[in-house]
Symmetry: C2
Subunit: 224 residues, 2 copies
DNA sequence: TAGATTGTTAATCGATTAACAATC
DNA sequence: TAGATTGTTAATCGATTAACAATC
């Protein structure tokens, strides 16, 4: 276990820094400053330095953070190298889109099989992934010792699916349904509730005119 | 504008409570307690009561919160009733899945048109939505006075797309690409960075055994 | 050196949790 | 009434931001 517990927001930012190191590497840059990283990640240089304080490596004063080394360090810290297998339940539009999403394998997530309960779908393929009947889940996941499950079913079956996942030994669930499945405390559930995120946009739009159109003109800014 | 600024997490929880009121309503329940709502939303009763303190209505001691009234209150507060039109750019797998996602219109989001730059896609339909060339975006969005934009393109065009959206008068951007587009400060960008969320799961799995089994300590690494 | 940038400790801020009086 | 539940103020917690010494 990582020694001083890293905050989740820092964890997520590390990946954003990682991406910027990657492009910098392609551009042949040997060092990147916290200032530049902050710009790329929409945060402050202080935050970047704080985040890096959880890593077992340091930058160089007056120079910045060495690109190649930090690529390796973050890769290792976030365990981007080792493949982690996952199963996905619910091969609808969203499920299929995630199964085909190119970004995941890049960071070590490998979806190995899809499950559904629709007889018309079972036996077909999405990319090179097979769709199997959801009854096979417990057995297969258990046998393959898969630890990550993705739920893209309608809400009303999400709890049942989560139960099967837990029974099969899955320890981390990425839940894209609006349900909030209950699981034992040693199992992590990340709820990616699209609609509840949408609310944030909606609320902003609703209040937009009151916020910005009274009085002053917004200041001119330079974003480069 | 809402008077005491409501925290974003509260805003999101309000939608979760709303869903629970909805099912309770179908079950014919007239009142729901903060205890039950807390259970449904994976939070505490205190938090529920705190969240409701931002609403212009109260519960009843010893009884709970009236289902019908709170459905109406939350609907109003989150502006779930009025349709808010949106455009989506990037009609790939994820873009199409979002365009067809049934959950959105339920909460007032109506995607009205898709844009793409692939000549093979342009002119085709996704459900009953047309795919138009991205060159038409500024004009059409401006004319229709659309305020919400969704980006499901690859990272390398995200900034360009965001620029067009801003130029067209869009005020809230839901960005599903891994890029971090820069926009004027009066425009809201919500980054739904799937991969960076994945990292949280991955990190949990990586540290799982150390956390919950009395077993062995992960080996120390040496970088230099 | 002077100046820029890192690393770390302390202060602040915002959200959650706790405490408890008010209510029915 | 007694007991359950709400509403609100205060305390706590965690993350961000600020300050500043150390470094090259």
């Amino acid at each position: 276990m990582q020694n001083p517990e890293i905050p989740l927001p820092s964890l997520r930012r590390l990946l954003i820094y990682y991406r910027h190191f990657k492009t910098a590497s392609q551009a042949g840059l040997d060092y990147i400053s916290s200032i530049e990283l902050a710009w790329a990640a929409d945060t402050t240089p202080e935050q970047v330095r704080k985040d890096f304080s959880f890593l077992p490596s340091q930058g160089r004063s007056r120079v910045g953070y060495p690109t190649q080394k930090f690529l390796a360090i973050i890769e290792d810290y976030l365990d981007l190298v080792n493949d982690k297998e996952a199963v996905l339940v619910g091969a609808g539009n969203l499920g299929q889109a995630l199964a085909l999403y190119p970004g995941f394998k890049q960071y070590g997530l490998r979806i190995v099989v899809l499950f559904d309960n629709d007889p018309d779908k079972i036996g077909t393929r999405v990319g090179d992934l097979r769709i199997l009947p959801v009854e096979n889940l417990v057995n297969l996941v258990d046998r393959m010792m898969i630890r990550i499950g993705i739920i893209t079913t309608p809400a009303y079956v999400a709890q049942k699916v989560a139960d099967s996942m837990v029974r099969a030994g899955i320890k981390a669930i990425w839940n894209f349904s609006p349900a909030r499945p209950k699981v034992p405390e040693d199992v992590l559930v990340r709820n990616m509730d699209l609609s509840s995120d949408l609310i944030v946009l909606s609320h902003y739009i609703q209040n937009y005119s009151a916020r910005f159109s009274t009085g002053r003109i917004p200041e001119e800014k330079n974003y480069t």
